[in-house]
């Protein structure tokens, strides 16, 4: 099978996860690729989770551990046979430990075109405070 390509973008292998905690339904588990950036008042997270629908995505934050998990149903119908297979469909799973205190009530999550955009506002007491130094 001949393939011609030209690309700026590198294909990242979808990393398999040694599923922790163990899954109750069988199948491969992948690590979504993420961008995480922090500003003074919030932490933003973008995760590539192609194939996940909003209803199959779960975001869980407890005790400073953020858990992302999503399930992808196989898109192929049963009478299709493989010609070329380069990626697998399965679940996504990734956990992060957040060092900052997050305001749980104001978390905002959006899922568009397979990209999860999560806004985690810091709670008041975790925001940096400017301390003025007085000279005597």
């Amino acid at each position: 099978m001949a393939r011609n390509t030209s690309t700026d973008m590198q294909k990242l292998e979808k990393d398999g996860v040694p599923a922790l905690p163990e899954q109750t339904h069988p199948g491969p588990v992948y690590t979504p690729t993420v961008d995480i950036y922090e500003s003074e008042d919030r932490i933003s997270l973008l995760a590539d989770m192609p194939g996940v629908k909003a209803k199959d995505l779960r975001i869980d934050l407890r005790e400073n551990v953020l858990t992302l998990s999503g399930r992808v149903a196989a898109p192929e119908s049963s009478n299709e046979s493989d010609v070329l297979r380069e990626y697998g469909s399965g679940s996504y799973y990734r956990q992060f430990t957040l060092s900052e205190v997050i305001d749980q009530g104001k978390i905002d999550a959006k899922l568009t075109d397979g990209v999860l955009h999560l806004e985690l506002p810091k709670s008041e007491r975790a925001k940096p405070r400017q301390i003025t130094v007085r000279t005597s």
């Binding site: 294909k11 046979s81 990209v115």
Partner: protein, 153 residues
């Protein structure tokens, strides 16, 4: 016959490497059990985007994982048995007053062509983009479809 009974697992015609082959198959089985058999199956071209191609009697299906791309930035073309897809991903919102903890997602332009095992009716190709997956349905031409042949008696 007596030999067979003493070493039942090694018929005389087997090569001395039969044990290695057996071990290799055992290890592959272990890998399959660990990975769910899924990773071992895929032989990736190592380029973006990863694609799956399937077929049934009437169509070829091409699926590609291209999250975070606007449908307007995707282009698809088909000629006989070749399908090209190309597109561009821009990660906007890159601000200057933030500090990055992780930056794993890539951006840029890409294009890719695959050759299908049969010709497609290029005027009837259907392309859909949802949840970050591009799905192309490419109807086979009459020549590429399997034909039932009746056996005369």
């Amino acid at each position: 016959m007596l030999l067979r009974r003493v070493w039942p697992s090694r018929p005389a015609f087997e090569s001395p490497f039969a044990d290695f082959d057996h071990l290799r198959r055992q290890m592959l089985r272990v890998f399959d059990a660990v990975t769910g058999g899924d990773i071992a199956r895929g032989f990736s071209a190592g380029v973006f985007p990863p694609m799956n191609v399937t077929q049934d009697d009437d169509n070829f299906y091409v699926r590609a994982e291209v999250p975070g791309i606007k449908p307007a930035d995707l282009s698809v073309s088909a000629l006989r048995n070749r399908v090209s897809i190309s597109g561009k991903r821009e990660i906007s919102e890159e601000k200057h007053d933030v500090s990055y903890h992780r930056k794993e997602r890539a951006e840029g332009e890409w294009s890719r062509t695959v050759t299908l095992p049969g010709d497609v009716a290029t005027d009837k190709v259907d392309a859909r983009y949802s949840d970050g997956i591009l799905t192309l349905t490419l109807p086979k031409t009459a020549e590429a479809k399997p034909r039932q042949i009746t056996v005369a008696s």
